[in-house]
């Protein structure tokens, strides 16, 4: 069943468009900096009494530390 999308007679499967989308990394593999941007900056936040979550941790601090640590790692590499 189609999801009510516009006609698409070629019915291009998503797999067919993937190869040219890839530039430097395997398909869908996300760079750590991009992943942290998203996992720390977006994503569903479910606040509530019984939840421990990063809403209660200073995210800016976390990101800063992660960033600095990443840079240090990079610099260690030959």
């Amino acid at each position: 069943m189609s999801t009510g999308s516009p006609e698409n007679p070629g019915s291009t499967g998503s797999t067919e468009v993937q190869p040219r989308a890839v530039e430097d990394r395997p398909l869908g593999q996300i760079a750590l900096v991009d992943l942290l941007d998203r996992l720390l900056g977006t994503g569903v936040v479910l606040a509530g009494d019984v939840v421990i979550s990063l809403a209660g941790v200073d995210l800016v601090q976390v990101r800063l530390h992660a960033l600095i640590a990443t840079v240090r790692e990079e610099m260690k590499k030959p």
Partner: protein, 256 residues
Amino acid sequence: MAERGRYLYAVTRGLTGDQLAGAQGLADAPLTTVEHDGLSAVVSDVDLEEYGEEGLRRNLERLEWLEEVARRHDEVVHAVAEHGPVAPLRLATICLGDEGVRQRLVEWHDALAEVLDRVDGRREWSVKAFAARAPGTRSEPTAEVGATGGGAAYLRRKKEQTLSRAQGEEAALQVAEQVHARLSGHAAASRRLAPQDPRLTGHTGTMTLNSAFLVDEDREPAFLDEVQGLRAEHPDAGLELAGPWPPYSFAVLDQA
């Protein structure tokens, strides 16, 4: 001791734990689901020594820990996305038990359902643009014609450099605007994230655009064509395309 918590990875629709048999949670714990009224939260057991408030504070400072958790979280989200629409949760959302998870599903039911509707059949793509290296750093004509005071000439040259650098930046920002606007035309939603630190991107140029686009799967060919077109038009913008990813940037609840 060793109190256990339930780590939440994502919310989806009508999924059972055994459908995720191929994937494992943190510390290779088995994934299970907590269900309520059509929604399924994907969870696994974690040690509160490590994932309690205090443990988190400590561990989040360690990049290896953060990376391991982020990667595993991402793997689980990908596995869930194979089965249907996915609303990834923010890293390190932990409930004290299944009842707590269920309460969250009850409380946020409508907002979660709305997010799942919004991202269904769509994936996230990232496009970044960079300002070319500042024009002022290029080698400049050294032979000053006319001996009309080196000082004045120097100042004039300096001024021109500053001007051309400013113009270069202005142009790069305009290109970024244009790229974002044109690609948004092919997307169901778009967001501009904060530009990333040059030390992390490996680019000498400044990141002028860090955009996320939520694209219908059947509009991906047109979206990708537009990226190619923009690349051809703006070879200096260093456009970087990445994806497709689960809709991380678009799984944001409209707070009631």
